[in-house]
Subunit: 260 residues, 2 copies
């Protein structure tokens, strides 16, 4: 059984302010919780149904600070999901120190004002698939530890580092070090024709607002995903997470050809 205080505390972690103060966030779902434990992430608190707890090996249990068994009804009260699974865990937010110089030595994604949690989660998932290890978000992006982002990332936040920074500073550093800054726009060179390299910043903006005015001058390569010649003019562009998947894929394709 879970105490009222603890239940209230777990629910309060849905708020960014509390997560920042406490340095904790929540993950949900049997698969995700298991994935975190297998990856040896320290679990502060595991809140789960008895069946889930008893299915864990003693070795896995050792990495858990505290285990609370609950009924489905109790789980439902603290869950962010409409139909909760069997487990929820409280995880310490890892400390991330941004070393932009090192990050720019490989491909790094910079997200400007991406506010939709589903989009950020999906972009993290695509980054993990296409081997991009680092994402730098502008301070006005959605919080990566927002439960909806965590859920949409499907465990990919285990493999991708997400930082928050002033993108102008990062772009300025790239310029200083003569590292390419690819800006994904609605106008530019086709990604299929542009020579895409294996280092630099891939800058993507908000769907409706695009990339901020102040960052635009730092872009060294304006790139775009060209619509089919037969596509109707005026159709809505791809959303930022679809665009990210396509752009990452094309980077990977070109890099793998170069490295052959």
């Amino acid at each position: 059984m879970i105490s009222k205080n603890k239940a209230r505390f777990i629910i309060s972690l849905q708020k960014k302010k509390v997560r920042d103060e406490e340095g904790l966030y929540i993950i949900e779902g049997d698969k995700l919780v298991r994935e975190f434990m297998f990856a040896k992430v320290p679990v502060k608190t595991l809140i789960a149904k008895k069946e889930f707890i008893s299915s864990l090996s003693p070795l896995l249990k050792e990495c858990i600070g505290e285990i609370v068994d609950v009924s489905y009804e109790e789980l439902k009260q603290i869950s962010t999901l409409k139909t909760p699974h069997n487990a929820l865990a409280v995880i310490p937010i890892p400390e991330r120190i941004l070393n932009a110089g090192t990050l720019l030595e490989s491909l790094c994604v910079a997200l400007d004002f991406v506010q939709d949690p589903g989009n950020l989660g999906t972009i993290i998932r695509a980054a993990a698939w296409f081997g991009i290890k680092n994402i730098i978000c502008s301070h006005d992006c959605v919080d990566v530890y927002n439960p909806k982002v965590v859920q949409a990332s499907m465990g990919a936040i285990l493999h991708v580092n997400v930082y928050y920074a002033d993108l102008i500073n990062i772009a300025a550093l790239a310029r200083e070090q003569k590292i390419p800054v690819y800006g994904t726009l609605l106008e530019g060179e086709s990604i299929y024709r542009e020579k895409l390299g294996d280092k630099g910043l891939i800058l993507m903006g908000n769907e409706s607002r695009g990339i901020s005015e102040e960052i635009m001058p730092f872009i060294t390569h304006k790139i775009m995903i060209p619509p089919a010649a037969s596509a109707k003019p005026g159709i809505d562009s791809l959303n930022v997470s679809m665009a990210a998947s396509v752009v990452f894929s094309e980077f990977l394709r070109q890099i793998s050809i170069i490295n052959k």
Copy 2:
């Protein structure tokens, strides 16, 4: 003001059974409603705030069967959105006669058991961008006129024809006509290396279940989106709408090179 009966009728169109019986579906949002009217789609009923109605040209108004002005509160009651916009419209479901032979002369997408409305909407949007005009869904896919699909497609359902059929029959016809059937799987030839053509079926399955056993034998080209060599083993694959965006993009890239 909207009558109780009409309000009840609009709400009932959220159910597939009613949509099928009535041959009607709903679209929401100022932008979408305008797009449909500009595309000369006959609007059976427009339900909107006074400001929206008075902003329409007489020419646009001519294509509308019936106009009902409502307050924000009335709109909220019949809306499927948490924060409705200013307009909602009832649209006749267009009659679509599937001529599979013709469809297979260009690229056509076949979706097997794609149940998530957001995914179907996003796939339609990607198809519109990459110039794919036809999608055939298995009968157990989500209904294309589900309000969430319509919303996620962002008007792309105006440019892409979505059919429902038994995919086995379509795949059998492709085999008979010696037309390629590309199956998107987790194992197969890399899409970057496979020679992708400008006609045939691009078959995509449900994220967790994959492509149905019965259809597998009809696949002539097993293709996959390879993860980066540096990607962690065991990471979750891309979801079906991200995969669709990447696959469509690669088809378009290769076709545009051939046609140069």
